[in-house]
Symmetry: C2
Subunit: 325 residues, 2 copies
Amino acid sequence: MKLLNRAISPLFTKRLLAAACCLSLSAGALAAVVEAAKPGSKAAPKLSMSELLKASAASDWRTPDPENTLYLEMDKGRVVIALAPGFAPMHVANIKALVRENFFDGSAFMRSQDNYVAQWGDPNEEDAAKKRQVKSTLLTKDPELSVKYTAANSGAAFTRLPDVDGYAPQVGHVDGFAAARDPKMHQTWLAHCYASVGVGRGNETNSGDGTSLYVVNGNAPRHLDRNVTVVGRVLLGMELISSLPRGTGPMGFYETAGQMSTIKAMRVAADVPEAERSKLEVLRTDTPLFKAVVEAQRNRGGEWYKRPAGHIELCNVPLPVRLQK
Amino acid sequence: MKLLNRAISPLFTKRLLAAACCLSLSAGALAAVVEAAKPGSKAAPKLSMSELLKASAASDWRTPDPENTLYLEMDKGRVVIALAPGFAPMHVANIKALVRENFFDGSAFMRSQDNYVAQWGDPNEEDAAKKRQVKSTLLTKDPELSVKYTAANSGAAFTRLPDVDGYAPQVGHVDGFAAARDPKMHQTWLAHCYASVGVGRGNETNSGDGTSLYVVNGNAPRHLDRNVTVVGRVLLGMELISSLPRGTGPMGFYETAGQMSTIKAMRVAADVPEAERSKLEVLRTDTPLFKAVVEAQRNRGGEWYKRPAGHIELCNVPLPVRLQK
């Protein structure tokens, strides 16, 4: 990779340098970074995100619950999706029921609209003779657009960003998801960021049953927040979806079945033999380390950046995932 | 397309309906929409963006200057790039000189990093024996990160968004580009949005000479603003770049030459025979109609949206392009 190092622009030069220099981090150094990460602090953190991650403890990471993890198997590989039962329990149950009756096996991405969403499901859903029959009793089509404050989604579980957001009174992260909340209404909801997964619907908010799902493949369409149910996010394999050829029909729908990418299977991770599961860990978002990561991204240091932004937009906060050792 | 209409989620159902109903718009109706678009107005506009565009006048559109338009020719088609000489005159001159000496012909996309940037140039730039020689005398490597207020980039030329932005004191649009400005410093600069094109550089800000260019393919990396020179944006063909397979090396670099997508040629549009040019028009951003379009996107109405956002983030503002009739 030496060949390309000079061509490394515009980002992450410092990460490569950091990766090369075998950094270790004392508890004191971490405490200093965490201190610098406090809102209003003018002290620039000295460690980059990659240095912080290298210095992280095992307890800074968690293993996603296999009962709420989906595998979407494509020809080119596996996409891993984390579900959010705390925010959309009924839709998560619906989707798992559909997955467990193999509803999505042999289904397809029928839409890839540039800088917006890719969508998958039954391409024949409008054809009564050909459409897939749902065997399970689905719980609801009512949308799950926000939830009341609970210990699981507010308080210490909600790591608030220090900065202003145009779409919501407060934004931050809950359990690895980008979220927003309204302290007056005591409501929390998931935000539409790159890689967010939601439930397709028609004009009526209660027309989404989980048989058609979408994933954001472009600039965060936050105007969709609380208009449509978000059920999770892609943890791994997003590049398999984002690189799909864009559909040439209106709204990025493919115009022929042959243009659609087939979904070989969808599975709940818990149903897959353990040896075949993806061994992932995701960074916890309720820790001092995560706050330090956010601050490292709000005000990037290192060799490359000359002007720290002093801000980070909700959907630009990285939510690191790593393979278990 | 009827087949897929029910599957149309989450967006644009209303546009299809609008397109079907042959709307025309009186001057009075447009005036009402423009009135509703004023900052602070609580009146929801009654027309969608697509309805506004259908009702637009010829004078709401402009033809990009062929002397500041680039064609990047790929196997799968043409990418059209609008240059921004008002913001980066030296780099625009460098890039045009490089294009005119055919520097980029046979070059390649050597990087496609998911949710960040794709980058193109000479894959052998680190190899003294193989690298392409620059024949032109390049004007500068100094960055062009912001410009002083002029009539061409502030005042009536700058259509300010009414909403807060986390990265800059004020944001809006100038001459079809997403921009930001600081009224205290009297400086304006281009923002990094999806499809923005910038000049790759190494660690030093004056290390970018235009021989390596990048385009944003994911959520707006606004933290790059004023760290690196933005020279324009993709007007058409962005989907050819965004759907490139992601590179598997660090930072999305491709690991072998065979993985890279070749650039057949780059041309200044003015140098291409008129019959072979892309006949585009872009929506003017200094008009009442554009303000109405922004408002229609800030608070979307129609059948599908139930909760207008009351906000639009800079990089979510659409910058419409159409083929000339």
